[in-house]
């Protein structure tokens, strides 16, 4: 049976062409015409899988085509692999990162910082013409390599295996050994003992939790950040100045401010102005690291904020949002629920804690930039004690008017697994909101069982 593919409708083209350009780090610009062409001609040929209408992938037969920024984030995802190849050819330094950090120091050192998910996206985007089935097989193959090179017990292995095999030109492995992430230690050890030691490793040591009020801890971490920048400088053969770091901090603060304003606008109305997927892909732009190009993320984010404000003013409801959906707040690292399937079951995702935590943490713009950055990082609400993290989460839950909370963590994500129970218990006790904990099994191979539990929770709400 032939695959059913989604197509962008020509009906929305004229309106889309009136929308803004995307401006990239290197100053280049793509126009809405070029984006439209790519999404309707080149994209479906190169990446038919992302156009496939497939229940388990949560695809719909139509997306929110009247939301131009939704098309633009799709464009940025589809062009990601090619853009990384081009950046590399133009001599850009690329770092593999992990640990949930903000990427200000990498931006300052003119380095593209890629999390495991993006490293995988780069690798898999190199091959064209795959349907979903073939893409999944290919990803499983990468996993097998990771089991061999790294560990069966780590969850987000994507990245290290490509560094080991040497099939992606990553210049430096530069994670934060933050406590939230137990995978970092697997990756760092695998790299230390692996075959591709030419790729430099810098381990940014994040002091133990609950030290944000201790000057020694801030100073210690600031020194680590300096070491990180020095390593990136060695990789690219150029020095990063304090001014560079200030510029990066201001740029990222702008993203963080826009992101929080956008989320506040979204939360300010009872009618969800976008569906869950669009909400998350727009709010996620705030950290400017989602598409390997901080300026491109910023330009889409600016436009998104204008559009959301307009939608809120006019009471526009997001595409495929049901009437009076049950509002879910999702907790935990690196995973989320299948948003469109959960919408079909009558819910909407109104927030997540993970990356949102550092989106809400602005870096002070006066003083010592390394110290300020270290201080802001140590203050991430997500990295605090269970009680502090839960209290901050409750604030977000209240602001977003969530009806229910799901804590989802990967199998093998040891810290999140350990804190999930006390955190949801605290939230339940303080707010009375129903909560549910779900452990995603090894690499998410049991979609159906997971959705069954999520749907039961939605029905319960």
């Amino acid at each position: 049976m032939g695959k059913q593919l989604f197509r962008y409708s020509e009906d929305n083209k004229a309106k889309f062409l009136e929308s803004d350009n995307i401006t990239f780090n290197d100053g280049s610009v793509v126009t809405p015409e070029e984006i439209w062409d790519y999404l309707t001609v080149e994209g479906p040929v190169k990446y038919p899988g992302t156009y496939e209408i497939n229940l388990s992938q949560g695809n719909r037969d139509s997306r929110d085509e009247t939301l131009p920024t939704s098309l633009k984030t799709h464009y940025l995802s589809l062009t990601f692999s090619a853009r990384m190849e081009k950046a590399k050819k133009n001599g850009k330094t690329i770092a593999f990162i992990q640990g949930g950090q903000a990427v200000d120091p990498y931006t300052a050192a003119d380095t593209i910082a890629l999390r495991p998910f993006l490293v995988g996206q780069w690798y898999h985007g190199r091959e064209h013409g795959n349907d979903i089935y073939k893409s999944v097989l290919r990803r499983k193959q990468s996993k097998e390599t990771a089991f061999h090179d790294m560990s069966f017990e780590a969850c987000q292995t994507g990245g290290y295996e490509h560094v080991q095999v040497g099939d992606l030109p990553i210049d430096v492995v530069a994670p934060y050994t933050v406590l939230r992430c137990s995978d970092v230690s697997y990756g760092v050890e695998a790299h230390r003992h692996g075959p591709n030691k030419d790729v430099k490793l810098i381990n940014v040591d994040f002091p133990m939790r609950h030290q944000a009020d201790k000057p020694w801890a801030i100073e210690y971490f600031a020194r680590n950040l300096k070491k990180l920048v020095k390593t990136l400088d060695e990789a690219r053969g150029k020095k990063t100045t304090e001014d560079d770091l200030w510029r990066a901090i201001r740029l990222h603060n702008e993203g963080r401010r826009l992101g929080t304003e956008l989320a506040d606008l979204w939360w300010s109305t009872d009618i969800p102005p976008t569906n869950s997927d669009d909400r998350n892909s727009l709010v996620a732009l705030a950290n400017l690291d989602m598409h390997g190009d901080v300026q491109a993320s910023l330009s889409v984010l600016k436009e998104a904020k204008k559009i959301i404000a307009e939608r809120v003013k006019n009471g526009v409801k997001g595409h495929a949002v049901t009437d009076n959906p049950k509002r879910l707040f999702i907790l935990g690292s690196c995973v989320g629920i299948n948003e469109s399937r959960s919408e079909d079951a009558g819910a909407i995702v109104v927030g997540k804690d993970d990356q949102w935590s550092h989106c809400t943490s602005l870096v002070e713009e006066e003083g010592d930039p390394y110290y300020n950055l270290a201080k802001a990082t140590l203050e991430y609400p997500y990295e605090q004690s269970i009680e502090k993290r839960a209290q901050w989460t409750i604030e977000q839950i209240r602001k977003s008017r969530a009806d229910g909370v799901i804590f989802i963590h990967n199998w093998g994500c040891n810290t999140q697994a350990a804190v999930s129970r006390p955190i949801v218990d605290f939230i339940k006790r303080e707010t009375g909101i129903p909560t549910y904990i779900h452990e995603r099994d090894l690499h998410g191979l049991r979609d159906e069982q997971e959705q069954n539990r999520v749907n039961a929770f939605i029905e319960m709400l």
Binding site: L55, H438, E439, E448, N452, A456, F457, E459, M460
Partner: protein, 269 residues
């Protein structure tokens, strides 16, 4: 034959069995239970057809059908799909309105469900990553002892002792059982230990959601008397005696929900 009344069906396709219940207005009219095959659409239809045949009805006579269980996502014959957690709650409430806590043990998972007086779920927990505490686990153990699955419970109840079973995984438990047999432990005492170890794992689920009387045991494993006794001991409760085959509770709940949907959508007044 003239068909009078309104008929609502629930079809529950699980990993081991497919079940169906037809309600006539408010009463249970017919049921069907078949083994699940690899094709879940076919399994569901077989169970539904069996109930239709017993009732002397055609599919067109049904006002509304709700599908549940793992096969619910591919149930083209159903008007709506609802998870089996909600269905077990509704089905139990329909038969036993005083029940507030349900243990559901099916072929591939085990659930602890708390409900309110209307049969709405207020909390639930499920075993996430292990076959222990499921029908599949007991099936493996029946295979080890070469006895019929339905005889496991009564064999366990004839035990004079309880041999503790420490493995948390079906595969390890199988080899632990084999080594216990080799050490000369009596099969009934080992089986008793197995039932108690499963019951202890189920008790663990209740540490998350709590227990309130009355307590009901649904699902295919609820037919195992040894399991029922072990759970009663582990949870220090007595379990309400089921009015129908406890394996049909999910399908019954789906039929009750079908009736509610039909009412809501103006198909039944």
């Amino acid at each position: 034959m003239t068909i009078s009344g309104n008929y609502f069906a629930g079809v529950d396709v699980g990993s081991l069995a497919a079940k169906s219940v037809i309600l006539k207005d408010g009463e249970i009219f017919a049921t069907g239970l078949v083994q699940s095959g690899v094709n879940s659409v076919e399994s569901g239809l077989n169970a539904l057809n069996l109930a239709l045949e017993t009732a002397g009805l055609k599919k067109e006579d049904l006002t509304y059908i709700v599908g549940t269980g793992y096969g619910r996502v591919s149930a083209p014959y159903a008007n709506k799909a609802v998870t089996e957690i909600t269905c077990h709650a509704k089905g139990t409430n329909y038969l036993h309105p005083t029940v507030r806590t349900i243990i559901d043990m099916g072929g591939q998972d085990c659930k602890a469900i708390r409900i309110d007086p209307d049969g709405a779920v207020v909390d639930f927990a499920m075993n996430d990553k292990c076959a222990a505490g499921t029908g599949r686990f007991l099936e493996v153990m029946a295979g080890v002892f070469k006895v019929k699955l339905e005889d496991l419970g009564s064999i366990a109840l004839s035990a004079t002792d309880t041999v503790p079973m420490s493995s948390t995984c079906t595969v390890f438990a199988e080899s632990e059982t084999i080594s216990l047999v080799a050490r000369g432990e009596k099969p009934e005492n080992i089986l008793n230990g197995i039932h108690h170890s499963i019951a202890n794992r189920i008790a663990g689920l209740f540490s998350r959601v709590g227990i309130e009387s009355d307590v009901f045991f649904s699902g295919g494993v609820a037919k195992n008397s040894g399991m029922k006794t072990a759970i009663e001991q582990a949870l220090k409760v007595s379990i309400v005696k089921p009015e129908i085959d406890p394996q049909l509770i999910g399908a019954l709940g789906a039929a009750v929900i079908a009736r509610n949907f039909a009412k809501k959508e103006g198909l039944w007044v």
